[in-house]
């Protein structure tokens, strides 16, 4: 795969050569002046300017929508006019209303806010100018990762600042419901998509035609989150494909020559919503988006959040990527305006492409020193963090060791060369004083203070409090998991199989990849390349040697291997908790609603009894991922898809997986051919 390591770090990577702090100028000149700057972007050459009203009209008059409306009218017995009217209402609810005036207003406000929140906003200027060229040549899709609400407008802000066309942005409908904010976002180019569309045929038709029309017209870049939602774990989420299908269809059907996908990696030193994240993961529901909620949260504006990096990835040509992968002649027979279920070939391709984009986002992200520190902190026993304290000098030493390792791996590490290493780490610690504290040269985990109560807190409450802080640490560790995950899976394979044979290791490596396919992003069909990368990286840092078909751990390699292995251990342990929970499940049918509490209870029990050490087992995200993985591996079957899904568990299969994961089944016996489920 050519783009695997192409975009990421060169060994001599220099942060300041690539990134420019765009707040720097703003601090020295008038915000109003910036907001009122002449804005004269060069749009896509083939595109005509298109107002929101024209867009709506084009969509409503499209053959596709007319056809679907007729079909629905026939099915439901209502008149075509009624259905069309419904479509119009849907469109009104959905559509953006991009206005330059509002962009200026937003720009003015955002400049103020950003300057307050962030020490700097670094933007990769090289790729920004590449983007400028791409925008003129083909329709462009901006695909940022989604870690914070701040993501939402920062790209528009940058585009405005650098004379690029303002994108229209796919957003969740709850945002539209917020007083004022919804309208402001709408006029800043956001369009709104309902969360659970299900089988609402008309809605699908309106949405897909709307999206496709934007792509075809190419008058503005389209921006959407391929992960589908904001990641609560700060780890990439397995991409959602619905929107991706809509976006790619104009290319597949030959309505545009090419489409350019631009993965955008937004990296935060500290995420505004960090305290909310672990709340949600522990089952405290996400607060409904509301304007008052936002104002309450405005207390976050008093705090500081370090630097933010926005790295526009190298533009990916869909045409190039799909060359030889897809036969577009399949669209020759049915009129292109008619809805058509994508073939298996197309689905696989779209999924692959979405994974490539998310993989590229990961490649482009900038790793903070704090993320490295959390990798190490989390490997200490919990009592060290809560009671004894992690010795500062030890953390410093290990972090510097890890710094060397990741630089060797060739990642973008935001480690300032201007200040001393210890200052870098100290300031990271200060930035994150809500999670960790340094007292007498030891580092302690900060746990949320319970209101002073008379009686001592229950054991369960104490577990939850610890878990909250641990999950926050884990989130920052997750920011760099993608750097380590491949070598880490190899390290785990080496440890569990106790084998040196490359083919056995590869088989186990593939098993781990398929088990953790919802946890980490692996591009389908690339197991072999991933394995080779893993070998290469571990070899590069001297942990292993490779003889023709053997992998041999070198004498000095143990430290590196055990570090990698420990990174994965929380996930293995958490999955084992799910497996145990399902094995205990009586009867073998359970519902969505039963699943999470059951696993959480078991996890709490095991944590208290000391049988499980990782508090990450309490993360609902991990639990859901493990359930998805089990479905994929056919150990759990979904009985009916409705609001309250029912599942049936195949206990023997689950036990099998559990045994294999703990090394109780010889690898050979269970060899699943690679790619069998992809």
């Amino acid at each position: 795969m050519t783009h695997r390591f192409s975009s990421s770090g060169r060994p001599d990577w220099n942060h300041d050569e690539e990134f420019v702090d765009i707040l720097e100028d703003r601090r020295h000149s008038s915000d109003l002046g910036h907001a009122l700057r002449t804005f004269n972007p060069q749009p896509y050459q083939g595109g005509q300017p298109c107002s929101a009203a024209e867009l709506t009209k084009t969509v409503l008059e499209s053959q596709h929508l007319c056809y679907v409306a007729r079909e629905i009218a026939l099915e439901t017995g209502s008149s075509i006019e009624e259905v069309t009217e419904e479509a119009r209402r849907t469109l009104d609810e959905m559509s953006q209303n991009l206005q330059l005036g509002f962009i200026r207003l937003m720009s003015f406000t955002l400049t103020k806010v950003f300057k307050k929140l962030f020490s700097s906003i670094f933007v990769n200027m090289d790729t920004l100018s590449t983007l400028q060229q791409s925008i003129q040549q083909t329709p462009v899709i901006l695909m940022p990762n989604h870690r914070s609400y701040v993501d939402f407008l920062v790209i528009s802000y940058i585009m405005f600042s650098y004379d690029l066309p303002i994108p229209v942005i796919a957003a969740g409908i709850p945002l539209a419901g917020m007083k004022m904010v919804g309208e402001i976002l709408r006029r800043s180019g956001a369009f709104f998509i309902r969360r659970a569309i299900g089988s609402d045929k008309l809605y699908w038709a309106v949405l897909s035609e709307y999206v496709k029309t934007i792509v075809r017209k190419g008058h503005a870049p389209l921006e959407f989150y391929v992960e589908g939602l904001r990641s609560r774990t700060l780890k990439s989420i397995t991409p959602k494909l619905g929107m991706m299908h809509m976006v790619l269809e104009p290319y597949l059907k030959g309505q545009v020559f090419d489409i350019t996908l631009v993965p955008v990696s937004i990296s935060y030193d500290r995420v505004l919503e960090e305290s909310l994240l672990s709340h949600e993961l522990l089952g405290v529901p996400k607060p409904k988006e509301s304007t008052t909620g936002l104002l309450k949260a405005s207390s976050v504006l008093q705090d500081s959040y370090g630097a933010m990096h926005v790295n526009f990835g190298h533009p990916l040509s869909v045409r190039e990527l799909l060359k030889g992968k897809i036969n577009r002649c399949q669209y020759n027979f049915v009129p292109r305006d008619l809805p058509q279920k994508p073939s298996a070939e197309v689905q696989a391709c779209v999924s692959w492409l979405a994974h490539v984009v998310v993989g590229t986002q990961e490649q482009g992200s900038v790793i903070s020193p704090w993320s490295l520190m959390t990798c190490l902190l989390l490997q200490a026993p919990i009592t060290v963090l809560t009671v004894e304290g992690f010795p500062w000098h030890q953390l410093t030493e290990k972090t510097l060791w890890l710094k060397r390792l990741v630089l060797n791996y060739g990642v973008r590490l935001n480690w300032s060369g201007q200040t001393s290493d210890s200052d870098v780490m100290s300031s990271s610690l200060t930035l994150h004083r809500s999670v960790v504290q340094r007292k007498a040269d030891r580092v302690y985990l900060v746990r949320e203070k319970n209101e002073p109560r008379r009686r001592p807190v229950s054991e369960e409450a104490s577990v939850t409090a610890t878990a909250k802080s641990v999950l926050m640490l884990a989130a920052y560790r997750n920011q760099s998991m993608h750097v380590f995950v491949r070598p880490a899976l190899l390290a785990v394979a080496l440890n569990i199989t106790r084998s040196t044979q490359k083919n056995e290791l590869f088989a186990f490596f593939c098993f781990l990849q398929s088990l953790f396919s919802y946890e980490f992003i692996f591009i389908p069909g690339m197991q072999f390349e991933d394995f080779e990368d893993a070998c290469l990286l571990l070899k590069k840092c001297g942990a292993i040697r490779i003889n023709s078909d053997e992998v041999i751990v070198s004498d000095s390699g143990q430290e590196i291997l055990s570090f990698h292995q420990s990174l994965i251990q929380p996930f293995i342990d958490s999955y084992q908790v799910t497996f145990s929970s399902l094995s205990e499940q009586e009867p073998d049918v359970f519902t969505d609603k039963q699943f999470l509490p059951a696993v959480r209870n078991l996890a709490t029990r095991l944590l208290l009894s000391g049988e499980v050490h990782t508090y990450e087992a309490l993360s609902s995200d991990t639990q859901k991922n493990s359930l998805s993985a089990l479905q994929r591996l056919e150990a759990v079957r979904k009985l009916r898809a409705s609001e309250n899904s029912e599942y049936k568990v195949d206990k023997a299969a689950v036990k099998h997986l559990a045994d294999r994961l703990s090394g109780r089944v010889p690898a050979q016996a269970l060899h699943t051919p690679p790619n069998s489920r992809l």
Binding site: G254, Q255, F257, D258, N327, R328, C329, N332, R336
Partner: protein, 661 residues
Amino acid sequence: MRRLPLTPVTASHRSAPSIHKHGSSMASNISGSSSSSDRQRVAQHRLRVIAGHLQRSAESDSVIQAAECKASVSESVAADSETRTVPRRRQEIMKWNGWGYSDSRFLFNKKGQAEFTGKRYRLSGLIIPGLKDWFEGTFGANLQHKSPATPILNSNATHPPNLNKAFVEELKSTGVPFSHDTEDRVFRAHGHCLHEIFALREGKVGRVPDMVVWPNCHNDVVKIVELATKHDVCLIPYGGGTSVSSALECPPEETRSIVSLDTSQMNRILWIDEKNLTAHMEAGIIGQDLERLLNEIGYCTGHEPDSMEFSSLGGWVATRASGMKKNIYGNIEDLVVHIKMVTPQGVIEKGCVGPRMSTGPDIHHFILGSEGTLGVVTEVTMKIRPMPEYQKYGSVVFPNFEQGVACLREVARQRCAPASIRLMDNEQFKFGHALKPQVSSLFTSFVDGLKKFYITKFKGFDPNHLCVATLLFEGDREKVLQHEKQVYDIAAKFGGLAAGEDNGQRGYMLTFVIAYLRDLGMDYYVIGESFETSVPWDRVLDICRNVKARIIHECKEKGVQFPPLSTCRVTQTYDAGACIYFYFAFNYRGLSDPVHVYEQVEHAAREEILANGGSLSHHHGVGTLRKEWMRETISSVGMGMLKSVKDFVDPKNIFGNRNLL
């Protein structure tokens, strides 16, 4: 406006054609034009130049029976052979390594102005002032950088003929003329694909036929095919030699003796049936002769493919040809009533000439498009029509290509397409413009300037986006004028402005001279080619944009140093779609293997066409050039059907050009 100059051409035309008239009276409305306008003179001139070189044989007005072979008289007119339209020795009047007549070519004169030599065409002898700038500007070419062709064919360039002695002996006894002269053989070893002409210009010759035979009639062909089958000789039929699908290339793996069967001497109109409006011809007759001869007695077939100066009736049948005026007259499959073809299994033909039959799959459709793989088409009965009373060119300028396509689509929807309607994109419009000959009067140039001002300044058309549709109306004067109004009214709805007859006519001229222009390009490091497809209406815009973009994209990727010319026109309309014609050319300076690069780009363009729902070919055919896509074009079962027909009709693969399958 002009009337058709129907008066017989005087020039050097010696004698009336050999026609056995079977019907009664001639069409009544034939009359000479009285107008002596400049345009008419020009039109007459054009007909004259097309006719000028057409020397008919001296057998002239004697009545000839349909079945009679003129082999018996061939000896007596042998001395006269150089006066035939297409002589046996084609090299006497045509270029051996380029397009068309030896006396007609573009060149840049000492002043650096382009001119077209000879006397045959409207453009002949004229200076074309805009061409140099267009040429240099479009291709980044430079008149200082020449890439001249090898002037003469080196007779050592070919292998000695591999003759099948027994076949040759028996052939001699039949009296059918043949030759194994190098020039004759080389001439019939190629069509007009870029790689073929490029190689000839470099003096490179691949496998060529081992001998050439010139049958004079159906019976001669029967004898030749029998002998070939008997002695296992490979036959490759040759008509006008205008193939652009590598259909005439000798298969390099062929070890048998290859005989080129040149039908050019089978060129008589055998009879005309005025009651049923049909004519029966030998299949070797070429388009311009057929039209001219029929015109002389007030008829036409209306079949005018762009290659009609050289392509033959048999070739049209064998490739499913399409004519410019198909909207009125139909394509070749609509025009043929009866076909006679000689195959190794014998002669295939229908038992009657009923206008339509329900008798199983139409056997004509095994023959139409068989590309010389099954046999030789020897005689064809074809529909004829009285000549149109009135003909008028026209043109419409649209602000952009999208509007133009929308207009053509509407015209097709209302089924009111004129005899021809073509929409050229902006690049092709500029190309056509560059071919404007020097205007003699100050007034004309003033009017031109005024028109340009009106369209670009007053109407606000962007000169880099506007495109032009060219029109040709035919029929009764009244109806033509009515029709014209209808079409212009539709055009107006799509923002189209009438832009005069001259622009229209020049558009059609482009298609006749384009092949000559390619030769000029090749003198200056520019190579190019055209290719075509047909596509449903809703995909027209997409395919045009994508294919043009793909060409530009691939050229860049393959290291072409200069931006290519990548242009298209919608050249035919149908109820359910349109035919699209692409021109593609680039400056190859700096490339070590330009032809290979060219082929890669063309291949990519064809892939793009197929991916965008276009057909493999609308009328050029498959040949060996596009064979690789046949399976996906007609499915495996379809391939099997064609294969089984081939296996039955020609089990020994006598017709071994390996086209199509």
